[in-house]
C-alpha cells in the first residue's frame, strides 16, 4: 500500500494512530489545536479528539514540559510539541533535571512516557532561533532517548514507537524535509516495524561509511550518488541516543573510513562522540581519522548565509575526499 506522502503527513498519521490506540495519549503545545501547529503536523487532531486531548497551552515551554510530567505521573502519555528548536531552552530545566531523571530518582517506580517533538535544523530561510540543531545537548543527558527521522516511513513508525515507549523520547523532526514527497506504506501494524533504536544502511558501499541523520540523510545519499570515484555506504543513524554502534562499527570495519555529517556546530557535537567511539572500537580498521562535516562553531547565521553554514553536497564530498587524501 505504498503511496507518495511527506514526513509531516506521516507524523500526523502516526499521531492519529497512537491516539486512537490509547486514550491516554495527549497532544500539547503552542498552536497545536485549531491551527494544527505552525507546520500543520497536528492538523485535524483537535477536531477529531477535542480540546481535552489536544491542548493549546499557554506560551511557556517550561510549563508545557512541566505539566506533561505531571500528566505522565497521572498515567497519561503526553506528546509535546516545541514549536521550533530554538525555543526549547526555557524547558531545559524541566527536561534535564526532571523528565530525564524521574525514573531513576524513583528507583523505577515512576515511568515517564513523554515525547518531545522538536522540528529542527536550518535551510528554510527563517529568522534567528528557527534553524538550530540542539541534539547534542540531549544526547549528553542521561535518561533521555533521542531519535530522528529522514523519511515518511520512519516518521510514521517511529513517532508511534516513541509514544509507546515508557521512557522520555526526544523526537527531532527535520523541518526542511517536512514537505518532500516520497513513497511510504502507512498501513500495517507497529510490531512489523524496525525498532526505533536501530540504525539503517540507507545505501550500500565499500569504500567509506558516511553517517548522517535527519535532514542530512538526503544530502548524504545525493553525495553518494554524485561521487563517481568512491563507493559510499550511507548509514542513517535514526537513534542518536543510544546510537546503534553495532551497525556503525560493522560498516566502518568493512570500509575502513568514516565521515559523519550533521548541521549542528561541530565542536562537542554528536559527531565528536561518534568519531570517538568509532576510533576506540575500530582503531586498527581505520585508514584515516573519522572526518566530521558540520555547522561552524558560530551562532546560526542570518538566512542569507545559511547555504554556506549548512553542510551541503560539496562540503560532504569534501569531507569524503579528506578521508581518502589524509
Amino acid at each position: 500500500m505504498a503511496e507518495k506522502t511527506t514526513i509531516g503527513k506521516a507524523i500526523n498519521e502516526g499521531l492519529r494512530r497512537a491516539m486512537e490506540a490509547d486514550p491516554k495519549v495527549l497532544i500539547m503545545g503552542e498552536d497545536v489545536g485549531k491551527l494544527g501547529g505552525v507546520f500543520r503536523v497536528t492538523d485535524g487532531l483537535y477536531k477529531d479528539f477535542g480540546a481535552d486531548r489536544v491542548i493549546d497551552t499557554p506560551l511557556a515551554e517550561s510549563g508545557i514540559v512541566g505539566t506533561a510530567i505531571g500528566l505522565a505521573l497521572r498515567g497519561y502519555r503526553p506528546v509535546c510539541e516545541i514549536q521550533f528548536d530554538g525555543f526549547f531552552f526555557p524547558a531545559a530545566n524541566q527536561t534535564f533535571t526532571q523528565l530525564a531523571k524521574m525514573h531513576q530518582r524513583s528507583g523505577g517506580r515512576i515511568r515517564m512516557p513523554v515525547v518531545l517533538r522538536i522540528p529542527y535544523g536550518g535551510g528554510i530561510g527563517a529568522v534567528e532561533h528557527h534553524s538550530e540543531s540542539p541534539e547534542a545537548y540531549f544526547a549528553h543527558t542521561a535518561g533521555l532517548r533521542v531519535i530522528t527521522v529522514a523519511n515518511p516511513q520512519d516518521a510514521f513508525w517511529m513517532i508511534q514507537q516513541a509514544v509507546s515507549c515508557d521512557d522520555p523520547v526526544v523526537f527531532f523532526e527535520p523541518k526542511r524535509r517536512y514537505h518532500e514527497r516520497t513513497e511510504a506504506d502507512l498501513s500495517g501494524t507497529l510490531d512489523s516495524a524496525t525498532g526505533m533504536d536501530a540504525a539503517r544502511v540507507a545505501r550500500s558501499g565499500t569504500d567509506v561509511t558516511l553517517l548522517a541523520y535527519g535532514p542530512m540523510v538526503k544530502t548524504a545519499l545525493q553525495a553518494a550518488e554524485a561521487d563517481t570515484e568512491h563507493s559510499i555506504e550511507v548509514v542513517d543513524l535514526r537513534s542518536l541516543s543510544p546510537v546503534d554502534y553495532g551497525t556503525v562499527f560493522a560498516s566502518v570495519r568493512r570500509t575502513g573510513r568514516a565521515v559523519i555529517a550533521h548541521e549542528a556546530p561541530v565542536s562537542a557535537g554528536l559527531g565528536a562522540e561518534i568519531a570517538a567511539r568509532i576510533t576506540e572500537s575500530c582503531f586498527y580498521h581505520l585508514e584515516a581519522p573519522v572526518i566530521r562535516v558540520g555547522g561552524f562553531d558560530t551562532p546560526y547565521p542570518p538566512s542569507r548565509l545559511e547555504e554556506h553554514y549548512l553542510p551541503d553536497l560539496d562540503r560532504v564530498l569534501d569531507g569524503v575526499d579528506r578521508a581518502f587524501d589524509f
Binding site: T67, I69, Y76, Q98, M102
Partner: protein
C-alpha cells in the same frame, strides 16, 4: 497621576492564638473532637522529634544533609491532615511533616538525605510525590497532575485534589508563576501551599517580593489567602476549604502559610551570619506545638498523662529512627546503572557490563572493589 498600589495589611487567618485560645472565624469553622486535636498534637511532637533526631544523625555523620522543619510543624501537619486518601501532594524537600501524615516512613526520608537513594518511596502508594530539590519544579508537576485528574473526570463531588508545597523563595521562580497560570487557565484542582518561613537560605522576604505573597494569586485570577502557619487548626481548616474548592471544580487557590524557619536552612547553614537572634526569640513565643499544648491543657482535652505519653512515644520514635537510619543498606556499585531507563538500553547495558568487569578485576588482586 493615579498610579498607586494598595498597601493594606494582610489579614492573617488564625483560629488558635499563640496563647492557645480558640478564635472563631466566620469562613473557616472547624469542629474537631478532642481526640482529633490530640492527634494533631501527637503528629507535631513526633515529627519534631524525628526531625531533631535527623539533625543529630547528620552531626554524627550518618546523613549527608538534613533540612529541618523546626517551627513549621503546624503548617505541615495541618495541611497534611486536610488531605484525603485520593488527594496527591507534591512536596519540596522540607515537608517531613506532610510525609508523616501521608504515611511515608521516616527512614525513607532519611535514606534520601543519607545518600542511599534519590527517591525513597512510592508516590502512588502514599499520595505523596518524591521530594523535589530544584526550586519550583514540582509546582508544574502538581498542575499537570491536576489536569490529569480533570481528564479522568475525577473532579466534582468526591473528587480528588492536588496540593503543591513550596517556600517563599520559590515564588520568584518562573516555573512557579507558570504553574499559577497553567492552573488558572485550566481551572485545575490544585492548591498551592506556600510555607513562607521568612527565609530562603539567607535572603529575607523583601529580597523575594514587594508585597505579601498570597497576593500573587489575584494577578493570575484565583484566590490567595494568608493563614497563620503556626496555627495547626487554621492550617487545617483553610487547606480543607481550598482542597474542597478544588475538588468541586472551582479551580486553584494559593495559601500562604505564614511561619518561621526556627533552625538553619540545612545542617550546612549558619544563620548567625545573616539574621539576628532576637527574631528567633520572638517566634519562639508563637511556637506551634506549645500553643496547642496550652489549648489542650486549658480545655482539659489533654492532661499531663497524655503529654507524657506522647513525649515517651517521641523518645521511642527517636530511638527507632536512629536504629533504622544506621541499618539502611548501602546501594551497590552496579545500582548506578539501574533504572536509568525503563526499557532495554544497549548502551547502558554495555557500560554496566564493562564496569562489572572492571570491579571484578580487583577481586583477583585481593583489593576491595578498587578502593
Amino acid at each position: 497621576m493615579s498610579i498607586t498600589t494598595a498597601q493594606e495589611e494582610p489579614e492573617l487567618i488564625q483560629l488558635l492564638t499563640p496563647d492557645g485560645e480558640l478564635r472563631e472565624h466566620p469562613d473557616y469553622p472547624l469542629d474537631l473532637t478532642a481526640a482529633e486535636k490530640r492527634g494533631l498534637y501527637r503528629d507535631m511532637v513526633l515529627v519534631r522529634r524525628f526531625d531533631s533526631e535527623a539533625v543529630s544523625l547528620q552531626r554524627h555523620g550518618e546523613l549527608g544533609l538534613w533540612a529541618s522543619l523546626l517551627g513549621q510543624e503546624a503548617a505541615q501537619v495541618g495541611s497534611g491532615r486536610a488531605l484525603g486518601a485520593d488527594d496527591m501532594a507534591f512536596p519540596s524537600y522540607r515537608e517531613h511533616g506532610v510525609a508523616w501524615c501521608r504515611g511515608v516512613a521516616p527512614k525513607s526520608l532519611l535514606a534520601l538525605f543519607r545518600g542511599v537513594t534519590n527517591g525513597g518511596w512510592s508516590p502512588d502508594e502514599h499520595g505523596f510525590h518524591l521530594y523535589t530539590i530544584v526550586i519550583g519544579a514540582q509546582t508544574l508537576h502538581a498542575t499537570g497532575y491536576a489536569m490529569g485528574v480533570q481528564r479522568d473526570g475525577a473532579v466534582g463531588d468526591g473528587g480528588s485534589a492536588v496540593i503543591s508545597y513550596f517556600g517563599d523563595g520559590a515564588t520568584s521562580q518562573g516555573d512557579t508563576n507558570e504553574a499559577f497560570n497553567f492552573a488558572a487557565v485550566n481551572n485545575a484542582p490544585v492548591v498551592f501551599f506556600c510555607q513562607n518561613n521568612q527565609w530562603a537560605i539567607s535572603e529575607s522576604n523583601d529580597r523575594q517580593t514587594r508585597v505579601p505573597l498570597y497576593r500573587r494569586a489575584s494577578g493570575f485570577g484565583f484566590p490567595g489567602l494568608r493563614v497563620d502557619g503556626n496555627d495547626v487548626f487554621a492550617s487545617l481548616a483553610v487547606t480543607r476549604a481550598a482542597l474542597q474548592h478544588a475538588r468541586e471544580g472551582q479551580g486553584p487557590t494559593l495559601i500562604e502559610a505564614f511561619t518561621y524557619r526556627m533552625g538553619a536552612h540545612t545542617t550546612t547553614d549558619d544563620p548567625t551570619r545573616y539574621r539576628i537572634a532576637a527574631e528567633l526569640e520572638e517566634w519562639k513565643l508563637k511556637d506551634p506545638i506549645s500553643r496547642l499544648r496550652a489549648h489542650l491543657a486549658g480545655t482539659g482535652e489533654g492532661d499531663e498523662e497524655f503529654f507524657a505519653a506522647v513525649d515517651a512515644e517521641a523518645e521511642r520514635l527517636g530511638e527507632q529512627v536512629r536504629q533504622e537510619c544506621r541499618s539502611l543498606p548501602d546501594p551497590q556499585p552496579l545500582d548506578i546503572f539501574h533504572e536509568v531507563y525503563a526499557e532495554p538500553h544497549a548502551h547502558i547495558d554495555r557500560q554496566r557490563a564493562e564496569f562489572a568487569d572492571y570491579l571484578a578485576s580487583f577481586e583477583g588482586a585481593g583489593a576491595e572493589g578498587g578502593r
